[in-house]
Amino acid sequence: MSKRAYVNIVIWALLLTVPAWLPLIGGYTALASRILIFALCTMGLNLLLGFTGVMSFGQAAYFGLGGYGAGLILVHLTSNMWIAVIVGTLAGGIAAVVLGPILMNRRGIYFAMITVAIGQIFYFVAARWDSFTGGQDGLTGFSRMPLHFGSITVNLTAVPFYYFVLFFFAIGAAAVAMLLNSPLGHTFVAIRENRRRAAFLGIHVERYIWASFGIAGFLCGLAGALNALQNNFISPMDLYWVASGNFVIMAVLGGMRSFWGPLVGSIIFIGFQDYVSSIFPNNWETFIGALFIIVVLFFPNGVLGIIRRKAKVA
């Protein structure tokens, strides 16, 4: 068995058994759900950042839209959780697909700035439109509904909800894994590596950046929908540029060139947030900032980059 297959089996085995072992090391299941949700959105972002080589600093927009999509549907239309998740996913994804053409032929910092600007527009709309989104107070009035499988009803308390999240995380991760092994994924990486060469091999670079942006939008929308269900609440802060920055930090911390980097980054970030903020409730972000700077300066390929380098030397 290849080393990669072995690593995958271990990771999935650990994820499947989280409720059994996490409390033993001082964690709790809802924390794991949160980690998976942020990892999923960061995987979407990393498709852009790590694999297509374009800097999106506005991914919270699609995360937040996913959240509002799911929340609003539950408030106004249905109590079906599956529909809520699908609607949230579509909200993030369709927005990214529609907005992609504004971005796809910008480069570097201009691309980044427009992603931020779009994100801020969504933020202001969500924060101001009190009657629809709840404004600054956020959207409330919905909560996780039980799932029905035939005659069986499952209440989504912490542990069942974790598996609900894990189910979608698995779909998202599998889709990304398949994508990265496909010609489309190869083409994304080629664009990251050398746009000029790609274009002069006949590849329409902008269209692929658009595609990558759209796919990332669906993944972030899905994660955002799950996040709304996790909290039974959405805040416009979920759309704020700081939230986008956090996803970038997670991607960089974990390792942008690695498939599992976003999960590792999310574990570090969310774990750190949870642990340090219980000790220093007001300045845990300083610690994350310091950690981030250390990683960027000394380990540009993130935590997984360190492990990989060690493995190569050994």
């Binding site: 398949m178 994508l179 190869h186 083409t187 080629a190 590596e193 002069f200 091999l201």
Partner: protein, 249 residues
């Protein structure tokens, strides 16, 4: 019918006239060389032909089609493929992966998100064929940034080959190479021309290579065509000797 027909093309950069009324006619099956001193406008000529930037005036005809307004991608699809004076490859990918990008583009499946086993096999088989043509099999799994300069340039040529060019533009294919590497590259150009039946237009500073390979030559000087002819005619041309060959000798 000519494969490439340039009608009085010019290109200006601000006040600099990089190319002025350049005409060139290349036939299918030819091995054609563009020579000239540094700054003569050779690379600019390639940039116009390949669509890197537009011509200021004039017409570019390829395979019976006026391509002036075509994007680079569209020209590639027509079979007009180039390499660059400074090697352009995908540095962190393996040799195999570099070539695969071209193959997938050629097979029209670059956007395929979930390929079946059959398609993947087809792609891999074609990559291996190409690696064999340019003798890169032994390097297939190496990261291209770790390869010797000469091998990197061979990788770029192989990528270009993956797009099944009708006309291959090579910008100083042996630039910066040692003797053995140069010899290898010259052999590859021969193979592409004779076995793969590709028409090749190349820029080259090494006169031994130019006179050894080219059927016809165009000499550029200060953005203008100084002379066009067979190697014999060019070698005997007094203006060329004065402007270019003389100084090199």
């Amino acid at each position: 019918m000519s494969l490439l027909h340039l009608e009085n093309i010019s290109r200006v950069f601000g006040k600099l006239v990089a190319l002025q009324n350049v005409a060139l006619e290349m036939n299918e099956g030819e091995l054609y060389s563009v020579i000239g001193p540094n700054g003569a406008g050779k690379t600019t000529l390639f940039n116009l032909i390949s669509g890197f930037f537009p011509a200021s005036t004039g017409e570019i005809w390829f395979d019976g089609v006026q391509v002036n307004k075509f994007t680079p991608e569209r020209r590639v699809a027509l079979g007009l493929v180039r390499t660059f004076q400074i090697t352009e490859i995908f540095p962190e990918l393996s040799v195999f992966e570099n070539i695969r990008i071209g193959v997938e583009a050629q097979m029209g499946c670059s956007a395929h998100p979930w390929p079946g086993r059959k398609l993947l096999q087809q792609i891999n088989r074609r990559v291996e064929e190409l690696l064999k043509i340019t003798s890169l099999e032994a390097q297939a799994d190496r990261t291209v940034s770790e390869l010797a300069h000469g091998d990197q340039r061979v990788v770029e040529v192989t990528m270009a080959l993956s797009r099944k060019p009708k006309l291959l533009l090579l910008d100083e294919p042996t630039a910066g190479m040692g003797r053995a590497e140069t010899h290898h590259m010259v052999n590859i150009i021969r193979v592409l021309h004779e076995q793969q039946k590709i028409s090749i237009l190349f820029i080259e500073h090494d006169m031994d290579i130019v006179f050894g390979l080219a059927h016809r030559i165009t000499v550029l000087n200060y953005g203008q065509v100084l002379a066009t002819g067979t190697p014999k005619e060019i070698a005997a041309n007094p203006r060329v000797q004065a402007a270019y060959l003389g100084e090199a000798a």
